[in-house]
Symmetry: D2
């Protein structure tokens, strides 16, 4: 009933733009269409499936999040994207080998209608990625102009009221912020001068913000995580979020590490290896791209475990992360963790976790949630970095001076309370007496 | 400094009584002595190692729990216990093969001084357990009288001011509450009539409560989880807690399941198998004792996952738990879990967890924390079931009508906020703005 | 070329009869047809893919087995079977969920043409199996008469010259040989008297042998492994073989155990657990059927390791096998082994093997090889138990007084040398000098 | 009895020299002494524990290898070695953390008596190895002279009749044979000229052969695997063998791969990762040393699987080996393998093997067997590369033009038949009829 009420009341059509229409992008798009046709369920999506408790437990109010907040309905989503490979979404979906034929064929016409726009791309930023569906340009300024025009056109073409952009492209080579990233002016100067330190993903972020489009970054790339672009987001009153979708091994880490810590179990070593065989794996086989990813993955444990406070438990933790390109795995990325913990009197124990994972399956609902939440945030007047969306990221982007929170349970808490406040309700206070569930 | 202040101010000597002086009991006792001598750290113990944030984050107050609350100091603990095997704590510790010689020898004199009192025991309640250090009796009433005298004597003998009792004995055969468990009167009648449905662990619980001694139950036995004894605990103003120390595979389950749920990942199946070779394993090789354990272990997932609300995700979950006696493992219990999860569009993934665990090492700090917290609770005037200690149990004992909480993160939250209130501080309110860490 | 020569020279049409047209039977049939159409390769089949070295290494003669011996060509195979469920092979194949739609559809017409004959069946022998495509009967003699008529008709109907039968049905309840199994006469008397100790799989074996049809037993059922039927096989000059296709965990055991033994590594414990969700798993969820399987699985290690000779290494080996019905696995049976080995000075090591297996995929090529080899054996005048086919079985059927060989490498050696002799070549003698490969 | 006969008849005292007295060397020495004192069993040693069948099975002759051949008795072994660290064998044994105190202490006096001679060493060949117990020298010729004098002195000092040398030192940086390795003359010229391409392990090999001492190489170093030294071995009539003790993951590979091949199962990928924390791991953390090891490890699968013949099965096999230095593991090296196999119709399956291994425990009995077998070989007049000892090596050294055999079962076959011939018996001929066991 209440769901029907929401559905009858449209919040406008929303265009979801994905730079990158590979495994993640097309799995997201195909999934949304499959759900709209009643062929699938939106498993993994909080916006579609999770409930939220409101008020005191005795009030017994726990609507679905999507019935509590004015989120755009799936029926009101339209899609557009860019890719260096000119395949339409149907072809790209087949090539990605994430979804089975029987799930793609019933929506093949829909997918065939989504063609990637030529990408703003230079190979030196992603060495292992090859494709010729790319824009010509003289300066990077040209490229951002073209991207802005793309956005405007695609909004018109799909009849959308507004748009959001979620980066679903590859991991770029490792880059540290340089002087041209320090202010809006320097950045715009850099665009004109073809400054080397401006990567393609930054062109998309810039174009999005300039067009009033919220931007989320699903890769570990620097992208919008530089002063120039965070300032621009505030100036233009645009919400942004990043970095690097929290999937696979890091997802498991942010679940397990808080668990060991609540019980005051020490950790002596944590060895993580990944084998993956898709385009993502190939890209990460380039040491420079891998470096970007590694930095994103290794910060996780420190902020969760607070070795400065719990030095007897975590000070000597030896943390090693390995990523291996292994083509036989295809999209079915596999993680293996060996965790050396210790307990009472220092006695050692081991936990080995083997995760037979599907990266794009874990990432797709994140794309959906980020699109809907960022659109909501914009309508609610939020701007700049949305730290309450840290829940979705391996390497949460935070404001200068803030410490990123990696504990998934704390992140989840914060997300839910933020939603409560946005919906005009009180945040949940867990007093001991009536404490039962925070979900 | 603040620690020194606490130490200079004694809260009285406390006798910790353990029915059962096998692997868990002796590992606990040996560990405390080893820590007191500066040879070990109290890893795994919240009372000794965890900090607690007080007030707003900006106040920067995060003392150790033991510096915040008037917990008994380790130096003020004394020990006593019962066992069907007459070995002293040194011999029992060697036999248990949990600790290495090099950790036992430096405290051998201390351990040799702790002799088990003859146990109140009948073999039909633990079929695989054999020993002749047992009390003679005509009626069960005799046995409780003897246990009460034991308690009084041991308090005097060790110079303690007061005592707590933590059940560290074996798992008894499966029993459902019967009529004699329904009221204090019926129970006391049963003691006189040798009612079959009163098991040894209930004799200990009864004796403890009658002597004003808080009682915690580390096994899945019914024990104090019957109306007669919970009423008695309230009448006598004694705090109690149970059941079944949360260690091993169940500990992992209560960490992982909440993680999958926050991300709205479905679970199709969860298969858990254990191999263990110590006395505990031998006891559980008896189907009747195993039944008691199995019931304790399988309730966990349902209350965490709420399949009634999230039926698309958890309604069809097939949960199977197996325990296998496998002597080569010794005390190093090993768990293997296969978890079949599914994500976006229903696509399956698998997680396999191999836990090379040491049961007694995980259980020992729980014995310590429960002893100190129950003693504190009694001094703070708490009585009856202490639900805020659910954090430590596989099968939390709750009041009639309450739903047990199994999510370890919620349990932890509740524990900490209860401690804050006991210490005269405000419970933590996680508003989105200043939300950073709940630890 | 030599392959073409073979192909041009037919060895006659052969009907392969499978009592049981479930996962294994239909995967075998579908695979053969798929291979004949050039859509698949006969992976896992020695008759189709393995080479055999002939003469001295310097002669450089290593033809494919199928080019060396006059095996029936895949194009000359026809199929027939019985099942309690009336689904045709197409429907049964879909239901079994072993093969993907894309592999079944291109051969759907062929599969639809294979309908199961009504089965000789009584539910008390396989308690969890339910189906009504069964023969009516007064005495078991009636049933064998009907089966013999079935065989004759199916040979005519498919235009075959001769037939072989490979049991692909379920595991029956555990049975020990009884008096009626001791001689041909007693057995035939039992057929007339409806002796309880004659199980359905024995009716098939009897009917096959009486019709001059070689018989192989893919399940651990007693079946032809009784004096009455082995004598009958010799009297009628029919080759037979059994029991229980070597797949999954036992396959791994017969690979690993010889390896540890060559290196004189001791084994203290071997714990094996299986989770499986197909009809096979459901049948084994009945303790009586499980018992049959367990006996078949646990004999393996003893004969490989010779604990009587190597008592320091294997005398104390604790071997435990568990099978668990776990529906989420479907046909994808999964095994997990924990192996406790020890080396120099008795120091312990562990090996954990997780096998994500597909039982029917491993069994199907065994059905093919057994059909072709038994047919060859018959044409070569072999009769009675074919011990050289032990390679394919978990519990090799051997003549009275022979010790079954479980070491897969010795079994393989023997299989190859037997083939050499059958083909008129010398068995391979591995002298040290020119020793290079025995394959 | 027959054992006593052998024992009463001495084959002379044998000095075992180990360049490298770290984890492997001291575990070997400590183990032999412990066995001599009756405190341990020689688990893992074929010379001490394995039987050998002689003649036809019906003859029932299966003595222990050590009772069949005139091997030196353990009581007749003496020890000597070199190391860059001056610790005696007791100190080195403690430092290595392989053996428990309770196993070292009872033989501490014996171990303390074994002091390492200063090593012939230059750090550029093993970058991560640091120690100052090294010989001074002007030319490499000086070093070999000093080593030869060491050998002569140590023989006299220990009262031995003769000696063997087994390299138990570190992995050197990767080197390919250069011109100075091509002939004895060039090599001796190089010794005088300090040719860079002559590594320390080659100095030891040269010195050994010149002194009439058989040499085995337990590391993947080039060492004696160059024409100059193999020619020298033949000229001096000295048996040699190598390279790289077959332990850990490679041991498992040479067991598993032949198993898959006998069954004609295809392999699509094999990913192997190792974590290890001992000095060996630290040395391999240097990319140049790792390269040497990697080459040794990756050749294994190709020769076993014969992808040229079985191209449908093994042509596309993707094989990746990773070694990771992970200090928390200590000497307990751990391997994790993911093996992607495929069967009937190409359907995929996976096997994951987690090996909690102890490298030195697996290597020590190999040192013993090689010492005794090489000594026997010399007395039997064998010279040059002993290919029949391939069983013990990851990267078997063979004569020019020979293909190394990696299948452990074939290697084992060959070893046993060679022993039979050495002992004046017929090699075993496995005819089908009386085929039962080759062990």
């Amino acid at each position: 009933m209440s769901e029907n009420n929401q559905k009858s009341q449209s919040h406008g059509k929303l265009l979801v733009l994905t730079p990158g229409m590979g495994a993640v992008g097309t799995t997201f798009i195909a999934g949304v269409e499959s759900i709209r046709k009643g062929l699938s369920k939106p498993i993994g999506s909080l916006t579609q499936m999770q409930t939220i408790r409101l008020g005191a437990r005795s009030e017994n109010r726990s609507p679905l999040i999507k019935d509590f907040l004015p989120l755009v309905d799936l029926d009101d989503l339209t899609f557009g994207g860019w890719d260096v490979i000119p395949d339409n979404a149907y072809e790209a979906c087949k090539r990605a080998q994430v979804l089975k034929s029987e799930d793609i064929e019933p929506i093949s016409d829909f997918l065939k209608g989504i063609e990637p726009m030529p990408a703003a791309f230079e190979q030196k930023y992603v060495k292992k990625l090859i494709g010729d569906n790319v824009k010509e340009f003289t300066t990077k300024k040209d490229l951002t102009d073209q991207l802005r025009t793309d956005i405007q056109n695609k909004i018109k073409e799909t009849g959308a009221e507004r748009a959001v952009m979620v980066w679903c492209g590859s991991t770029e080579v490792f880059m540290s912020p340089s002087s041209c990233h320090m202010s809006i002016e320097a950045f715009e100067e850099g665009l004109k001068n073809n400054d080397e330190s401006i990567s393609p993903s930054q062109l998309y972020a810039y174009a999005a913000i300039m067009e009033g489009v919220p931007y989320a970054n699903g890769a570990p790339n620097l992208s919008a995580d530089v002063p120039a672009l965070t300032q621009l987001a505030i100036q233009k009153e645009i919400p942004i979020a990043g970095k690097d979708f929290k999937t696979g091994q890091t997802l498991m880490k942010t679940i397990l590490a808080p668990g060991f810590k609540t019980r005051m179990l020490g950790i002596k070593g944590w060895f993580s290896t990944n084998i993956l065989g898709n385009r993502d794996g190939e890209v990460l086989d380039d040491p420079e791209s891998f470096r970007t990813k590694e930095v994103s993955k290794t910060g996780v444990l420190d902020t969760i475990l607070q070795p400065d406070i719990y030095n007897d438990l975590y000070e000597d933790l030896y943390h090693k992360v390995r990523i291996n390109y292994y083509p036989p795995s295809g999209d079915e990325k596999e993680g293996w963790d060996n965790i050396d913990i210790f307990g009472w009197m220092g006695y050692p124990m081991q936990i080995k976790v083997n995760f037979l994972c599907r990266d794009s399956i874990l990432a797709a609902p994140i794309v959906l949630d980020l699109a809907l939440f960022l659109d909501l945030a914009k309508r609610k007047g939020k701007k700049g970095i949305q730290e309450w969306l840290s829940f979705y990221f391996k390497s949460p982007q935070v404001e200068d001076g803030h410490i990123p929170e990696h504990d998934i349970f704390i992140q989840h808490f914060r997300l839910k309370n933020t939603l409560r406040v946005m919906g005009g309700e009180e945040p949940i206070t867990h007093l001991s007496e009536n404490f039962e569930s925070y979900t």
